[in-house]
């Protein structure tokens, strides 16, 4: 039993934390959100070249730093503290995850360009009808000569306006929600036949609706096994959820800290509002929510390489905890900040918005409760 970080991991945390503190203050982030691009490609270069963090979870053979999920957790938690927008989750965790686990002809080159900061990824998995069911796919890929032709529609693809590549889940066989018959492709974001409609999201990111009309890809665009891609999709999505939990932990720590500071400063009835027991207990409950979320994030991250059943249970349990905590901690923070918490001026509201979106990303509390139930209490147990 060991919850300590290695020296390398502590160094990684320090590096990322320093970057966030020094270069990602709230005003900087606001400017990024309002800018036309919506992100900072130059910061991405900094992350690749100066900080060298984009290789954190890749093996040394692949040109990485030899880390894994714990390294992703560290980066994401520190990014959560600064509400960092740049697509580490989409690119390193998800894009990198698919390439690491699924391989494919292009994997080596693409991993190298992720580490080098040249390639950015977005995960085109959700569909308008599919809600959180990863297998509910109407986007199809059909054999077309030596390659495939992709047709369909993807919803709310976070980070797509910035992506050089898309990871696309498709149906190559079977019925609309069958486990079998799912195939994953890597597609250049500017491939002919792709139409995007870009938009901002409520938490300051950018996303797109994406239409695929006869988008031609070669056989080398397949990641993993044809028709057997769902296990891979679930594995990488679970890794993404664990990383997202870490981001939530970073954001919640910040929300909690900010709220305590505010309550100490804000005076009503001649005393700091932090002296009111009803608010003290609320802040204690926030604290307990954050600590339990940290624990569950560690647990889920450390169980990512276990069997499917263990991994699924761990990740869904963590997402349930984090989803509930995001709501409680966020709402309590706004309430304790009073009117000030409602304003766009204060950072706390922006953390609340991100935490709220994390509640729903890759499955709501209900979704993961159901998934946990199935694996823990249902036939699968």
């Amino acid at each position: 039993m060991d919850f300590n970080f290695t020296d390398e991991q502590n160094m990684l945390r320090d590096t990322v934390a320093k970057f966030v503190q020094q270069q990602y203050d709230f005003d900087t982030r606001r400017a990024i959100v309002k800018s036309e691009a919506g992100w900072r490609p130059d910061y991405w270069k900094v992350m690749a070249e100066e900080l060298g963090i984009l290789g954190a979870p890749f093996s040394e053979d692949q040109g990485g730093l030899g880390g894994g999920p714990v390294d992703n957790m560290i980066v994401m938690e520190e990014f959560g503290k600064g509400l960092v927008i740049e697509p580490y989750l989409g690119t390193v965790v998800i894009g990198g995850g698919f390439l690491k686990h699924g391989g494919g002809a292009q994997a080596g080159d693409l991993i190298a360009s992720i580490i080098g900061g040249e390639a950015t990824f977005a995960f085109a998995y959700a569909e308008p009808q599919g809600r959180y069911n990863l297998a509910d796919l109407t986007t199809t890929a059909t054999k077309d000569g030596a390659g495939y032709s992709i047709n369909g529609r993807k919803a709310v693809v976070v980070g797509a306006p910035w992506a050089s590549h898309l990871i696309v889940t498709t149906r190559t066989a079977g019925g609309q929600r069958d486990r079998a018959g799912v195939t994953v492709f890597v597609v250049p974001a500017d491939a002919a036949g792709i139409t995007r409609r870009d938009y901002p999201t409520v938490d300051g990111l950018r996303a797109s609706e994406i239409q695929f009309d006869n988008v031609k890809v070669g056989a080398d665009a397949v990641i993993g096994t044809v028709d057997q891609g769902l296990d891979l999709v679930e594995l990488v999505t679970d890794e993404a959820i664990a990383a997202l939990c870490a981001e939530a932990v970073g954001a919640m720590r910040k929300i909690h800290e900010t709220t305590i500071d505010y309550a100490r400063q804000r005076k009503q009835f001649g005393v700091p509002i932090s002296s009111f027991q009803v608010l003290q207990h609320r802040m204690v409950d926030m604290f307990m929510n954050v600590e339990q979320s940290v624990s569950m994030t560690y647990m889920a991250t450390l169980k990512l390489d276990e069997s499917n059943v263990e991994r699924t249970k761990a990740v869904s349990a963590a997402k349930v905890q984090i989803g509930k905590a995001c709501r409680f901690v966020g709402q309590a923070a706004i309430q304790i900040h009073g009117g000030m918490g409602m304003t766009d001026e204060l950072a706390v509201g922006h953390y609340f918005k991100r935490a709220t979106m994390i509640e729903g990303l890759f499955g709501s509390v209900d979704h993961h409760l159901r998934r946990y139930e199935t694996f823990s209490l249902g036939d699968a147990a």
């Binding site: 709310v156 929600r177 409520v202 209900d366």
Partner: protein, 398 residues
């Protein structure tokens, strides 16, 4: 004990329902459902129609132009308005300052301010909260110093809802700096076009501009615009707060909100089935409905007591706490129901004619901003913590 409406009440219900159906402006239908931000004219259109009919001010005594409805009729009216999803009547004139003026004002003040308040020709805003005076409202610092037949007012107000449209504001100001807390406060009506007034927008979490800062710099206010006695404004303030709380339960609007969630959940699909078949989601709606029922019957009991001549007491704090908690849960469920499409942010890019790739269903568009916005309800009008303090002290005697 009897839960039925009388035949007269049922006839009244039919009458108001027919009136709304025939007279509510077509272009304002469904704007509430979509959570659109409304402009000044949107609010005033329905106000004017009701003013002409004499129904804009259900709670006012007939001598001041009220329709003379019983509290049950008023309840039916608000229920029917919510069912039809009408644009709400802004409370600042009708529910807040109007009753203060007809209760505490001079004949001249009544004559000057009540008629244009009814017709909508005066748009009021409320100058109560200050940066240092929120829950502790009596801590306000805005000063009014007598100078002949004027007061010179200096200070800053905040969270002033819709002040950007306001013609007049009602302000709590300190007229005796040496008096303690609630004493030494006066209630002034101030023309918002007076020199020295600056209104600055505060943008809230969903991107809305609803509230403002109001800065007052050497604003000259005629003494004749003071309501009630100098230094006795807290009496008006307390009276007004009680009025602000009545109706704050929002039962009828919340019923509409629950219906809306059901309709979203019937449309949203999950594993090829409507979301409403999901046992988790269904149970949450059921719990919400039951809580709303409990609130409704609590409000009806209050109403019956009111009809029997017992004014709303500190029990109305219960209606505020439970009512706002339910309003907030409705927005949580709507956001949950929207799934992925709760994420896109529409402000500023809802251009027409761009139908090639629709960004999810219309009902999803404002679920997140509305969820953020409605967090305010447990903060404003006396935060829910303050309401619990009131119950603790005034009802339980603790």
């Amino acid at each position: 004990m009897n839960l039925d409406f009388s035949p007269e009440d049922l006839a009244f219900k039919a009458e108001v329902r027919a009136f709304i159906a025939e007279n509510y402006p077509a272009h304002l239908r469904d704007v509430q459902d979509e959570g659109e931000e409304l402009g000044k004219e949107d609010f005033l259109a329905w106000h004017r129609i009701l003013a002409k009919k004499g129904w804009v001010n259900p709670a006012w005594p007939t001598e001041y132009g009220g329709p003379g409805w019983t509290s049950v009729q008023r309840y039916i009216w608000s229920e029917e308005c919510a069912l039809a999803d009408t644009v709400p009547i802004l409370p600042f004139g009708i529910n807040m300052v109007g009753p203060v003026i007809y209760t505490f004002g001079t004949p001249e003040q009544k004559a000057k301010f009540l008629p244009p308040t009814l017709t909508g020709d005066i748009w009021w805003c409320q100058g109560y909260s200050e940066p240092g005076a929120g829950s502790d409202l009596a801590n306000l610092r805005t000063k009014a110093v007598r100078d002949g037949d004027h007061y010179i007012v200096n200070g800053q107000k905040t969270w002033t809802t819709m002040a950007q449209h306001a013609d007049w504001g009602f302000f709590l100001v300190r007229t005796d700096p040496d008096a303690k807390a609630q004493e030494g406060i006066s209630f002034l009506l101030i023309d918002m076009k007076s020199p020295g007034i600056t209104v600055r927008p505060i943008i809230t979490l969903g991107g809305e501009h609803e509230v403002n800062e109001v800065w007052l710099e050497n604003v000259r206010v005629p003494v004749e615009n003071r309501i009630f006695h100098e230094n006795k404004g807290w009496t008006c303030a307390k009276f007004l707060l009680a009025h602000e709380r009545s109706g704050i339960a929002g039962v009828a609007r919340s019923k509409r909100g629950v219906d809306r969630i059901k309709s979203i959940a019937r449309t949203e699909s999950q594993d090829g089935q409507p979301l409403i078949k999901d046992s988790f989601f269904k149970r949450k709606i059921a719990e919400l409905e039951i809580d709303l029922l409990a609130l409704e019957y609590t409000e009806l009991r209050t109403l019956a007591a009111e009809n029997a001549g017992k004014g709303p007491g500190p029990e109305s704090s219960l209606l505020k706490v439970k009512g706002t908690e339910i309003q907030q849960r409705i927005t949580e469920l709507a956001l949950e129901a929207a799934g992925h499409y709760g994420m896109p942010y529409f402000r500023g890019f809802g251009e027409a004619g761009h139908n090639a790739l629709a960004i999810g269903p219309d009902y999803a568009h404002r679920t997140a901003p509305t969820y953020f916005n409605v967090r305010k309800t447990s903060i404003y009008g006396g935060s829910n913590e303050i309401q619990r303090n009131i119950i603790s002290k005034m009802v339980l005697g603790l």
